[in-house]
């Protein structure tokens, strides 16, 4: 092929730009379609995950409702508003208040760890812990949710004066937990996150007995979680 022929075979730059524009347009339309098609499911998955976690960290709870601080008072809020930091109230079958499920997050070994924990204000006890989101090292740090022994530490754990992680097997006081061997940083991160959550919330909670009453539209426990208990 001579040089002139080659030049003739070269497509115009309009054609090049046009091809890319069409490709980008089609691609954009497809991505928006998939985003819209999956948006509701993804949102629902996240909400369901949180709902199930609330019932897991509060044993004996049959119904829950969303609580927020408004004018220094803890009130029921069913609709979400921007910038709110909600906690969740758990109630038993008779509608009696059992405890709060408090979300808290902070840095772990690799990335942010999000924790939800159950708190009984009457006895000032942590009664359950659930990791909502984490990217801890598989096989070591991920034991903060895969190791049943570690998770069991957070049942009937005293919050006074604050939670302390000690070397595995050294747990002797009600406010101590056994850290995971080989994952001390992740264990301590969970403890720190819960202590921070306590620092943020415990002073704002109403006196035991003065908790918000159960609303009629409160969410019932999902069947899957209910069956586990």
């Amino acid at each position: 092929m001579s040089e002139q022929q080659q030049a003739a075979a070269e497509p115009s730059s309009n054609r090049l730009v046009g091809t890319l524009a069409v490709a980008g347009l089609i691609s954009g339309v497809i991505i928006i379609a998939v985003y819209l098609a999956t948006f509701d499911t993804i949102k629902e998955n996240k909400a369901r995950e949180l709902r199930e976690a609330v019932f897991r960290v509060l044993p004996g709870v049959k119904r829950m409702q969303r609580l927020v601080i408004k004018d220094r008072k803890l009130v029921v809020a069913h609709t979400e508003e921007k910038g709110e930091e909600p906690i969740y109230g758990g109630y038993d079958a008779a509608g009696k208040f059992v405890g709060y499920a408090i979300p808290s997050a902070g840095p772990g070994f690799q990335d942010t760890v999000s924790v939800l924990y159950g708190y009984q204000p009457a006895e000032r006890l942590i009664v359950g812990m659930w990791i909502l989101d984490s990217r801890e090292t598989p096989g070591l740090g991920d034991k903060i949710y895969k190791d049943a022994d570690f998770v069991a530490n957070f049942d009937h754990l005293s919050v006074d004066p604050k939670i302390v992680a000690v070397k595995k097997g050294k747990k002797s006081k009600p406010n101590e937990i056994d850290a995971i061997t080989g994952a001390t940083i992740s264990s301590k991160a969970v403890v720190r996150i819960i202590n921070e959550g306590n620092g943020r919330w415990l002073s704002k909670l109403p006196e035991p007995g003065a908790e918000p009453l159960l609303d009629k539209v409160a969410t019932a426990a999902p069947k899957a979680v209910d069956a586990e208990k």
């Binding site: 091809t19 890319l20 998939v34 499911t41 995950e49 989101d133 598989p138 070591l140």
Partner: protein
């Protein structure tokens, strides 16, 4: 007919064995080493890659005459990125647990040279049928590599396979195997095996040729 069947079969097997993307071409190492700490993660990443590879190979082969060669790479990337986004959102909606494990590595499928390489080297020069067979073969080879690496690391590192415990309580997991060094060690041994096998085969062929030669 028979000849084209044979050729198709060859193209498929090529991806699994002779030109296995991981063991022979040594492509796609980043997600390969990062996600294969369990067999099930290997399966998920393998299937996600398979969907993207087959989908993009089909489109690239279909559109090969419409795409000017000056902008072909950009077009390939747009096609691949679209498929990856579809996979990303679908996994998030359908199997959130697996999406959590694979995390950042799903979007990174876009940058896998394995996929772009197949478009440039094969799909853009062959018929749709051949492109699909080639993509399926390569994806199968990648899947097999991911699952075998994931299985070995899970068995040694956690004493489990697909989450099922294999040994008694006395098994002391070899934790290093599910950490990054375990990935390099396992992959190293597997590459060693593949190269040793190739070498042995080559020597056998040479010897066979030498014997034939001496007969004449």
């Amino acid at each position: 007919m028979a000849k084209s069947e044979k050729q198709a079969y060859d193209e498929f097997i090529k991806g699994i064995w002779r030109e296995n993307p991981v063991f022979v071409q040594v492509l796609g190492m980043c997600p390969m080493l990062a996600v294969t700490n369990s067999a099930i993660n290997g399966v998920a990443m393998g299937l996600a890659t398979c969907f993207v590879l087959v989908g993009s190979s089909f489109l690239v082969s279909l559109l090969k005459n419409l795409i000017p060669k000056q902008v072909r790479i950009s077009c390939f990337i747009i096609i691949i990125a679209t498929f990856v986004t579809v996979v990303d959102y679908s996994l998030l909606a359908l199997v959130p647990a697996i999406h959590k494990e694979l995390g950042a590595f799903i979007p990174l499928i876009v940058a896998k040279c394995l996929i772009l390489g197949r478009q440039e080297a094969f799909a853009s020069r062959n018929t749709i049928r051949m492109a699909l067979i080639d993509a399926l073969g390569m994806a199968a080879g990648f899947l097999i590599a991911l699952v075998s690496l994931g299985a070995i690391r899970e068995i040694l590192g956690e004493g489990k396979l697909f989450g099922v415990p294999l040994f008694g309580d006395n098994f002391e997991p070899w934790v290093i195997m599910i950490l990054p060094p375990g990935g390099f060690i396992t992959l190293g041994f597997m590459l060693l095996f593949f190269n040793w096998f190739e070498e042995k085969k080559k020597r056998l062929d040479e010897r066979a040729a030498a014997i034939e030669g001496s007969d004449i």
